[in-house]
Amino acid sequence: MRLFIRQSIVKKINKKRLFLWLAFIILTILSLIIGVVDHQQGLFENIGIFIKGVFDQDALSLRILTQSRIPRTIAIIITAAGVSVAGLVMQTISRNKFISPSTAGTTDAAVLGVLIGMLIIQTQTYTMKIVFAFVFSLLSTGLFMFILRKIKFKNIIYVPLVGLMYGAMISAVSTFIAYRTNSLQFLNTISINGFANKAAGTYEFLYIIVPVFIIVIFLATRFSIIGMGEDFAKNLGIKYGHVLSAGLIIIAIISSLSFVLAGALPFVGLVVPNLISYYYGDNVKRTVIDIALFGAVFVLLNDIFSRIVIFPYEVTISFTMGITGAIIFLFMIFRRMKYEKK
């Protein structure tokens, strides 16, 4: 009997997984074909022209495909998967479902890093931005984890509130520095980015996320264990400090890369791991791939929407993301409240 139930659960999960893969493939194809070829035509005419062009080996369509559409789609998939997994790692380590890089000051620290890098070195290459964003987000996440360990009153909602105030303080420092150095305008442009300008030559740094992602898969169980506390982890023979630092470095790498290259993606790191854990449970090792996949589906959906809403122009994905993500997050909060009441 027990075995039977287990098998049926496995079957159910496999079905869901299949559905996820299907959605992923369909959205990837959509993301490849939607876009502007001739700006005087409508959306469907453009898709038609593009598909016909690709099959006819038309030079323009092929160039659009290889130079713009494929890089953009790859950038979306890698970034979305990375940010979702970074959120998962952060939530597992801190054992709090409401924490993510955007609610713990990591993104604000990346902004500060890019600003300071620009002021010191005076150039704006991607390498320099990434290095500074990485150093600052690593320091900031480390400090936040340290503060977390000192908090006595570990209410699940209180902790992200502290995180948001912490982030507000970091962005006050950025505003202060920018105000003094007359670079407020630069500060405002740092977090506005998106996938619209991702073409061959501007997204390749994102490939660094791929090996990091594989490392997460290998370390998944350890992250779950250190989430249970220092003493518990030591009892099981795991080097708490090492795994924790590995987790922090992973979070900082993914956050800084995705932030510098693709801009802020609000709520992805928060919503995606939570939604997946409703359906698959909290086994990090088993859910990490689903989370990456679902993150990609979610961001692809938002990106396609921002591309077609005012076609042939597009809106920045962080706006669309802020709206859809916030609505899903509110839904999650109320759902949780309902269960707590019962």
Partner: protein, 333 residues
């Protein structure tokens, strides 16, 4: 008690000094000599001096009333949440304010009376903010009594939602409309919305008195819900009423002087540290005084140093550092 009296006297003197400095300091530090022998120019000069004095006094009035309001609502909010770090400004009223203005201009265009007339605009925006906040309270507090921390989280998510949709609308908006929107929404301590001060101030003073009248109840409510109910305080009714006052207060002060996130946190906690008491009456008075001192002296310093930074940033920096200190000093929460 004697020691406390000393603290109050010093704080009072500082408040007076701060206000006087704000109104008169420019006379001493201005680079243009104020005395001229030419009688024609003298008349113009005197008229201008009066005008500047009136403007500075109006500004300082707005700052004092807002500071008192921010301090008192933060104190009440901390009593209701039973937590020393949370303040109502976390809900993100500034985002809601900007969104409301964006929606008004998007739906009715900038030539509509709802936008063009500052009074009508202020009243509409404030009313809408109050309605949204009350709706939020009803939604959350009805289902889940007393879970104010939950309310804060929902408020913050809602403000992100508001900010994103405002940005979304601003992107697809007519550029000329966007310009008039920016002028209206960039309210801050150096760019106060002084048009509306004469309707905002009486309302704010009314709320301060309304909160002041409930002080004894807050003393009881600080003991916790069950104790307060046992002692004969209608906890839920008082809490809902206080939350409505807080919503109105935050809406008005945001529309008048813009958001100042950490002022309430600094003022209330500094008052607690200085007085070491749980009684609301002395805390109420001292935290208001501290808020006024911080805001007005901060603004004087910023103005006299040639606007090296803005006072909002200054308060956020001090407040943020103070918050981390409070969190780290575990037993203080």
């Amino acid at each position: 008690m004697k020691k406390n009296r000393k603290i109050f006297i010093i704080a009072g003197i500082l408040v007076v000094i701060a206000i006087l400095l704000y109104i008169f300091l420019w006379m001493l530090t201005t680079k243009q000599p104020l005395k001229l022998n030419d009688p024609v120019r003298n008349a113009i000069l005197q008229k201008n001096i009066t005008r500047i004095l009136v403007r500075n006094s109006t500004q300082v009035l707005a700052m004092v009333v807002s500071a008192v309001l921010i301090a008192t609502t933060s104190l009440v909010f901390q009593t209701l949440t039973n937590n020393r770090i949370l303040t109502p400004s976390l809900i993100g009223f500034d985002a809601i304010f900007v969104t409301i203005q964006t929606f008004i201009i998007f739906i009715f265009s900038s030539t509509s009376i709802l936008f063009y007339n500052p009074y009508v605009n202020f009243i509409t925006a404030t009313l809408l903010m109050i309605i949204i906040t009350l709706f939020m309270y009803r939604l959350i507090l009805r289902k889940n009594r007393n879970n104010i921390i939950f309310l804060l989280l929902v408020g913050m998510v809602l403000s992100t939602l508001a900010r994103s949709s405002a940005n979304f609308l601003q992107t697809i908006m007519d550029p000329a409309e966007f310009d008039s929107l920016i002028i209206r929404t960039q309210v801050s301590i150096t760019q106060m919305n002084l048009n509306v001060i004469w309707i905002a101030t009486p309302l704010m003073i009314f709320i301060i008195f309304a909160l002041f009248r409930e002080i004894k109840n807050y003393d009881v409510m600080a003991l916790g819900e069950s104790q307060a109910v046992g002692l004969g305080v209608n906890y839920n009714q008082k809490m809902n009423l206080s939350l409505i006052y807080i919503a109105i207060a935050m809406s008005i002060s945001t529309a008048l002087i813009g958001p100042i996130s950490f002022l309430g946190l600094i003022a209330v906690n500094a008052a607690r540290e200085l007085l070491k008491t749980y009684k609301h009456l002395p805390l109420f008075i001292l935290s208001s005084m501290i808020a006024v001192i911080f805001l007005v002296i901060g603004q004087v310093i910023v103005a006299e140093t040639g606007y090296l930074t803005s006072v909002t940033v200054l308060i956020s920096l001090i407040g943020g550092a103070y918050m981390i200190y409070l969190v780290l000093k575990e037993n203080k929460i």
